[in-house]
């Protein structure tokens, strides 16, 4: 960031976002960009870091004792907070994904072995984050094989292969397993990024799986080969 005090208008907008003077509509645009654009995210994070000491200097105030009770009342019920056993691993991977996003956008380079994500079609900034989820689909190894961004509000998913390789003469097929536990095909995993439509009724409590199938995909409409990767949706 050496091009001058403000690198771009986006940097200034990020600064005004952080100090809080952006009008509501522009604020919503920046919020959407933070989720989809690593450069904006980095600008905002830098401004938050620069000004954070001021925030820590604000005098403390004790909230009324009853407030904790209100928070407990409002927490989602036990069913909504049930977590898969591997949640921590996924959270950790989610951190890796964020680092990759930053690294790839910041440097304009991409490490060998990582497929460059190219958005297919217009990138829709979601005004509401409620419907956005990410699954980092892994095998036993450390590297995620796929990054699947799911937007349940628009019913679409973006698939980014990172290190997924199909065995010779075979195809990798992507599945969505929702509440009814029946895998629904999302299509074949290509070599590039793609945007796909989710099956009707796909919600946030889904699992993404990848199976090895005969070339061209499963002949039966259900996974027939070994499931090599699975990942759970987490909120983006």
């Amino acid at each position: 960031m050496s091009a001058g005090p403000f690198d771009t208008d986006r940097d200034f907008r990020a600064a005004e976002y952080v100090i809080g003077t952006l009008p509501a509509d522009e604020r919503a645009v920046v919020e959407a960009e933070i989720r989809t654009d690593p450069v904006t995210e980095a600008y905002v994070r830098d401004w938050e870091r620069r000004l954070a000491p001021l925030s820590l200097a604000v005098p403390e105030e004790n909230p009324p004792p009853r407030l904790w009770g209100a928070i407990v009342q409002a927490l989602p019920g036990p069913s909504a907070i049930a977590r898969p056993a591997n949640d921590n691993r996924i959270a950790a991977l989610s951190g890796q994904v964020r680092r990759w996003r930053l690294a790839s956008a910041g440097a304009g380079l991409i490490a060998a072995g990582l497929a460059l994500f190219v958005a297919v079609g217009p990138r829709m900034p979601a005004p509401d984050s409620a419907g956005r989820y990410v699954a980092v689909v892994t095998s036993a190894g450390d590297l995620p094989a796929l990054i699947v961004s799911v937007d349940t509000s628009t019913g679409t998913a973006q698939v980014r292969p990172v290190a997924a390789k199909a065995p010779d003469g075979r195809s990798l097929e992507l599945w969505f397993i929702g509440a009814d536990k029946t895998p629904k095909t999302l299509g074949l995993v290509g070599t590039g990024a793609s945007r796909i439509a989710l099956p009707a009724g796909a919600g946030s409590d889904g699992l993404i799986a990848v199976s090895v199938e005969p070339q061209g995909g499963s002949p039966t409409g259900q996974p027939t080969g070994q499931v090599v990767y699975t990942g759970k949706l987490i909120r983006d």
Partner: protein
Amino acid sequence: MRDDPTLQRLLREIAAGDQSALRALYDLTAPKLFGIVLRIQRDRSLAEDVLQDVYLKVWQAAGSYAPENGRPLPWLCAIARNRAIDGVRRKSEVQGPVHEDGEDWLERLADPRSSEGALLDRDALRVCLGRLDATQAECVMLAYCEGWSREELARRHDKPVNTIKTWLHRTLASLKGCLEGAR
């Protein structure tokens, strides 16, 4: 103690669905976050609603905290500030009247009791804010700490809103230049 390892451990436990960890985090951080929210929202009863929302958000977002995103207390403060500002900018929560007690924010940055700020580049921020035009630096601090809008700042200084925007632009640019130069 509100040290980084403690807060990071609590956030991990919250991410795993541990309600007692949320309680422990609340006990350690609620006065700080309520102070931030109350300064921006200004109406005590609405500020309580906002704070409730902040901890629900922490409950949901704890798993997305990563140490490389910054230290945990500033991360929590940013959630609180963002939530408070969202409400007043969207006017979904009507902001209370301006505090007239005239807090000197630059002075507070020098407060030795605020040891947490000292660990972040507090002194650099204080020096750099002190070098700026005092009126314009005050606009940035009133916006950041007390949630003043461009329009409120314009009325305070009897200037058009566009002038305030220009001031903010110029001030933030100088501030960035000064802070980046100091690093």
